[in-house]
């Protein structure tokens, strides 16, 4: 049953990706990217990664779509059509794509218990987090406690992004604020 769902979802995602790349109407493309994100959120749920699915649904399908639409309302709804065939670009894309596929050949099988990711600290987190941290959601204990330093870095990235946008566009919001 899950396999059928996987196949249906993945084929939907491929269709959407091709449609987005061929579409000239950017408004529709932005909406389709939202649907794409939502489908990948369902994929994450099927893979039992509910925390990631939650983030994907909230950020990918929700806020990014709103921000893309906000950007489109400032620019234009139609993509400029480029008629020229660019052989060099095609070559670069093909080489990059085949290099990426070549890289995945070395990766361990999905769900392989001997994969390096299951050999390192994962066992320790699963065994000891109940005693050391005592919260049921191990994802939260890894994210906020064991790997708290990394999460601090992530928050700093978001902070920097916010500061960047405020610095670039901030004077406009100040002026309107005082009216």
């Amino acid at each position: 049953m899950t396999e059928i769902l996987d196949i249906v979802l993945l084929s939907f995602m491929i269709v959407l990706a091709v449609a987005v790349s061929r579409m000239q109407n950017l408004f529709m493309a932005a909406m389709m990217m939202g649907i794409f994100s939502f489908l990948s959120a369902i994929m994450f749920t099927l893979l039992d990664a509910v925390d990631v699915a939650f983030t994907e649904a909230a950020v990918g399908a929700g806020v990014s779509t709103v921000l893309l639409l906000g950007t489109l309302s400032l620019t234009t709804h139609e993509e400029k059509v480029v008629k020229k065939n660019n052989a060099l670009a095609l070559l670069v894309v093909l080489i990059t794509g085949s290099a990426l596929i070549y890289g995945t050949l070395d990766m361990p099988q999905f769900g392989d218990p001997n994969a390096p990711v299951h050999q390192h600290v994962a066992d320790r987190y699963i065994e000891k987090s109940e005693k050391e941290i005592d919260i049921p959601n191990i994802v939260t204990s890894v994210l906020a406690s064991y790997r708290g330093y990394d999460t601090l870095g992530e928050v700093t990235v978001i902070f920097t992004a916010g500061i960047g946008v405020i610095l670039l566009m901030g004077h406009i919001w100040r002026k309107e604020d005082e009216q």
């Binding site: 983030t55 050391e132 959601n137 994802v139 994210l143 601090l152 928050v155 919001w173």
Partner: protein, 141 residues
């Protein structure tokens, strides 16, 4: 969308539950999926919805841009501050055992609560700030 009846009525019903759900995701992250990051985004989504339906000016009167700017930094400060407290209590940076050395899991609970709150505040404030900046710009033509 200011003059459309159905979105106005529906959003009035929806915004309060969305805010409540954001708080639930924030404080229930220890037991189920979710945490500060998702909660912040959901909280910002409620503000974005309000701004889309009732206009940017109305949203800015409720969520003051000056406060949003402060909150952007406050979340990171809360996070890093928790780490500094444990550092000054003689433990490693972000080792929450320092917050309650006699009962380590309790200290961990408190530490995780504080840093998740910091994440939630920064994420919500940054999302709102980015939306306000984009929506506040007029079309350049």
């Amino acid at each position: 969308m200011r003059h459309q009846g159905i979105p106005r009525v529906v959003s009035k019903w929806l915004i309060a539950p969305i805010l409540l759900f954001a708080l639930y995701v924030q404080f229930h992250g220890d037991f189920g999926p979710g945490g500060g990051f998702q909660a912040g985004v959901i909280f910002a989504a409620a503000v974005v919805l309000y701004a889309l339906i009732f206009g940017l000016q109305a949203a800015k009167q409720i969520v003051k841009p000056r406060i949003v700017e402060t909150l952007v930094a406050l979340g990171v400060l809360l996070y890093a501050g928790t780490g500094l407290v444990s550092l000054f209590l003689g433990y490693n940076f972000l080792d929450y055992t320092a917050l309650d050395p006699d009962n380590a899991p309790h200290g961990q609970h408190l530490g995780i609560f504080l840093v998740e709150l910091g994440v939630g505040i920064t994420v919500a404030a940054v999302m709102i700030a980015i939306f306000f900046s984009f929506a506040g710009r007029r079309r350049l033509r």
